[in-house]
Assembly symmetry: none
Homo-oligomer: 234 residues x 4
């Protein structure tokens, strides 16, 4: 990609007959300002309500300039989403494989590093955006699911399994437990995107991260019989 990527936009100038890749990378010169501005605006307004004029204004360029780097609004949307997803993907999956210490410490570290990523305002916006536009852009939803959700789930699932194998937490249904870890945080960061300005008690995110993790740890310890007080009444 570095040597001779032509800047031409014509999709047929590459290998004729080949299908143009959907997630085509553009020249490095592509201004990050545009992607950032686009992401912000898409998050705030949604895809349909976003005017390219506003994106351009926020990026400090003219409307026409957007088309020098993106062939249309949809591609700009996909690129912005994809670009935002990348940091998610490079989260440290690999370092878990060889880790030797206590699984609970590993869990905490994975949790905190993941939380640090999704706590970034951009990531809350990304999550909101994917949820919001999933019906209109199923391929974006699929991409996000495959690249982010599945990996995150697999990461926490493997750590949880280690914890259970080591007897540090009791046996849990893995799928539910993984969601239990991530769901409240994801909701919080999405919430911040939309409702925080109307919230008279805005969330103290770091405190909540800590509170949440402790709740889980306490709830999942091995030395306690689950469900001793009240049972499902249905």
């Amino acid at each position: 990609m570095t040597e001779n990527t032509p800047l031409t936009e014509s999709p047929d100038s590459s290998a004729a007959g080949k299908t143009t890749p959907r997630w085509q990378r553009r020249p490095d010169a592509r201004p990050e300002e545009i992607l950032r501005a686009a992401m912000q605006t898409f998050v705030e307004r949604g895809f349909a309500a976003t005017k390219l004029e506003e994106v351009a204004a926020r990026a400090g360029v003219s409307k026409g300039t957007l088309y020098l780097y993106f062939s249309n609004k949809e591609e700009l949307f996909r690129s912005a989403v994809q670009e935002s997803i990348l940091p998610h993907i490079q989260s440290g999956e690999q370092r878990i494989a060889g880790f030797q210490g206590s699984p609970l410490v590993l869990l905490r570290e994975a949790y905190e590093r993941w939380a640090a990523v999704v706590t970034d305002p951009l990531m809350g916006g990304l999550c909101k955006l994917v949820v919001t536009e999933a019906a209109n852009f199923p391929e974006v939803a699929v991409f996000y699911f495959e690249q982010v959700i599945k990996r995150t789930r697999a990461l926490f699932a493997s750590i949880l399994q280690r914890c259970m194998a080591a007897g540090e937490i009791r046996d849990l249904p893995i799928d539910l437990a993984v969601r239990e870890i991530t769901a409240p945080i994801l909701f919080a960061v999405m919430w911040r995107q939309s409702m925080s300005q109307h919230d008279d008690k805005p969330l103290d995110v770091p405190a909540y991260l800590d509170f949440h993790f402790n709740t889980l740890l306490q709830g999942w310890r091995t030395d306690i019989k689950p469900d001793s007080h009240t049972g499902p009444q249905k």
Copy 2:
């Protein structure tokens, strides 16, 4: 046409071969049907991407008919949101006041009744919609926040306080604990709206509701010192 035109809505229920009347006069049921169709479409597409033609088609009426009941797209949106919010509001706040039994049982009951409401697909859609359009319709966000969020928070806060007063759960920061109860469920129902179709492990909602509640109960019991294994490392 005069003798036996049934008032049924099904166009094929009349005698086959007869000309189906182009429309029926149904002044009373119209608004609900329209609101339902509108809500569905707004949830799926968002406000801007929703075409009134599609709403009309789903409601089984023509475009113009919408304007007999709603003066424009925005009012239709607001009405649809408001109409969907109502069931939320009438959740049983009052019965908590005079309740005499164990606070934990009360907590479980409130949780389950609340969960039953938000688990309805429409409610997941409503939540997603409010989050999606909060920036474009701040007054809708405020209305939702005041009428739904605040009441729900207050409801669970008062129950939690009773639980803590009764020594059934340890002292918790109320605001965080309330969120801890609701956030995962809200995330789950929103998720179902958008990503469940791409999810290879779709969520078993009732099981998750139960799992979540038990996690909380175990985590919040009084007989355990919190945070004994790992502490915040920052």
Copy 3:
């Protein structure tokens, strides 16, 4: 209408192959309220800006009722115009033929009778309406021109000619003189329709009618050389 006027709207139910007359008369039962209401509204708003709902409301009937008497908006327009034109047409042309007295008296009488007709507010509106919609309804313009303008011109032309033949007024270009008689009055009645409410010096119509006629008589007397003071300077 009582005996056998079919109320059917189908134009082919009359003599087949005959062309349906453009200015077809409808049953006498046709409510005058509708025509009056239509005329008023058309005058105020013009054809395109007139809503049949407003016409119906003014006439005290429902929208659908209009279509029992007029097949569409254009026909209602044409009928209203035509109905208003009729009083114009029956002005006393015939009595001029046999008149024996002084031509000047005849002129004054014709002037006053004509003025009495056009001074009616409805007639001012009609004139305004024809001028307004002439481009959109050329056949209405032609009808008005043939039935009203030409007859009025012919009437005054013949009287003026008698006056000149009798030596009561000097020789004038007939076409210009006829316009000189009618134009100011027509302008005044049109003006009243539109601008009088904003006019801080509303016109005293009877006084103006008299003033105008006297100006003409003085200006057209035989004993004076025309144009003695100032000539055309171009």
Copy 4:
């Protein structure tokens, strides 16, 4: 494209067979062209019946271009009217103040200069349009009345007063006399807008202007007793 693209607007003046550019960048001339086209169309059809598509076509631009210069149809209407009114306003009021010669000559000059302005086809259209749309756009009517009618009346009123003071014409009710001067001309120019094409005796405007002025002069001279032949008979 670089070598010999002439800047001329005529699309056929370029080399035949070359592709004509789809549009030219003409930011300065656009508004006038649009206003001219709009004025024409509004005069012909009235406000409501005017389609912006037709205005755009006449102006040689697309629908969307209109919105680069005018925020909506109403503003286009108001701008077109206002722009057309300007020439009216700048009529030479000031030169009358210091004029020294015969008041009658001054009257004739004012009359001819004013007639030259209103005789322009655009002005006839303007007058027709204001009369037509006064009910729908009262503020336009007020503006026209204040800026045009009042000034014109004041102009002729002051001259007439000089004439009467100088004994050149007899004492007249000023308001009526002013209308007597202007009304026939205004009617004629409005008439031309709508009915002239159906008129078998189209008006010779210069001849009529002259005829009208002479009629007035003869009718208003001082040496004649008014109303000697016939009196009001009512």
